[in-house]
Symmetry: none
Subunit: 222 residues, 2 copies
DNA sequence: GAAATGTTTTAAGCATATCTTAAGAGTCAG
DNA sequence: CTGACTCTTAAGATATGCTTAAAACATTTC
């Protein structure tokens, strides 16, 4: 994992470099905004630690320009300030998190890990009528009663909910849930839709998962 | 909150004691390295303030020996020096932070609070049905009968309990308990789950640790 | 430094849950 | 009414997890 630190105080810079390298991150550093920006644009980093006040170009400006270049690398602000206004500026500029000096190294590590976690910004919970799907913990509830689903059942339900309100064609379902990318005529989907409706307790009146004849299925509120 | 100050200059020592006691910390003091080390090993403090230069045993040595004894209490160095080299020594010795003399009392308070933050909220005891896990003393009980677990068994149980009620995916388990961060197909987890269930005396009816086929495991009340 | 003890990991056979197929029953649209 | 599409069911194929034993590795003891 590669980390870029943009920070002008040598003490803090070295403290961070040392600590992060011991955690086996690969660390690059810059001591002013211009150099930092250049490096962020040139190389692919996994996280950028960005000081708020920098000589040359302020942290906010650097952040904004990194985002303007279309780079989505997580940026964590290191800031001595603490007013609501400042953090708002930082987050508007496209930062993902900020940490107030002085901070403990453990705390910084925690925040870096949070940013590195895959899908950190991704939606995790979906709802459909009385049904709640938590993709993180892989659990499904109906009226806060857990319903056990198998892998494929869960995958199919998740796909339908990620496309809630849109018709899902059979070919798209087979592609996404079964990972089959060629013409394939099969009845598996029907079997699983059937199983889902049963387990979720859906009836004729409560048809949250509807059949679109000749096309596919749709999950929607009724 | 208990603070140990190891500092040989009486002026600074009294200044600190006075101020910290007013903030309602409970303060113990030592005026040389040997005494300080002894106290740090004998009593449970929440923070140690450690002067860099001490008669008897230097601050770095004291710090190193505290860590060697397995004590994780946050240590803040009080130092007149400021070279990169010195702070590096200090942090390598296991310190959590350092503060340069002369410092404002406010600043010191801030840093103490930072060090207390991550530990203060941490949960130490977990329960699961008749099972109690104490992460501090590294002990596990079932109906107040101690159960001896190995390192890995304990680590796995602790991870499951820290995520009690949530499904733990195999990849997360391997990452957190085994510290393996790449794709790794193995049966170790199964073996350890098996061992845990045996030692904890879990049965079909008492399945506090359930397997979620194709995903992982979940610890939850039944 | 070797033996003894304890822990962690690997691997293989077995049991069982899950997935897929296929076939008959049911449903809808023209 | 008829043909195309979908639903339902059950049985065979596959994948996953459980259990065990032994190998690899670590730690303690003499």
């Amino acid at each position: 994992m590669r980390i870029l630190i943009i920070e002008d105080e040598p003490g803090i810079l070295n403290f961070l470099r040392q600590g992060l390298e011991e955690e086996s991150y690969s660390v690059d550093t810059a001591t002013n905004g211009l150099d930092g920006l250049e490096m962020a644009l040139a190389e692919a980093y996994d996280v950028v630690l960005l000081d708020w006040m920098l000589p040359g170009k302020s942290g906010v400006e650097v952040c904004r320009e990194i985002r303007r270049a279309g780079i989505k690398t997580p940026i964590i602000f290191l800031t001595a300030r603490d007013t609501v206004q400042d953090t708002v500026f930082g987050l508007q500029a496209g930062a993902n998190d900020y940490i107030k000096k002085p901070f403990s190294f453990e705390e910084l590590l925690e925040r870096i890990k949070v940013q590195l976690r895959p899908h950190s910004g991704e939606q995790v919970e979906f709802r459909l009528g009385p049904i709640v799907v938590d993709t993180q913990s892989h659990q499904v509830f109906r009226d806060s009663q857990e319903i056990k689903l198998t892998q494929k059942e869960f995958g199919l339900l998740e796909f339908l909910l990620r496309n809630k309100g849109k018709v899902c064609r059979r070919t798209r379902i087979i592609e996404s849930v079964w990972d089959i990318h060629f013409e394939y005529n099969t009845g598996v989907i029907d079997v699983y839709i059937n199983s889902l409706r049963k387990k979720l307790g859906l009836t004729k009146e409560e048809d949250y998962i509807q059949t679109i004849r000749g096309v596919g299925y749709i999950a929607k509120e009724i």
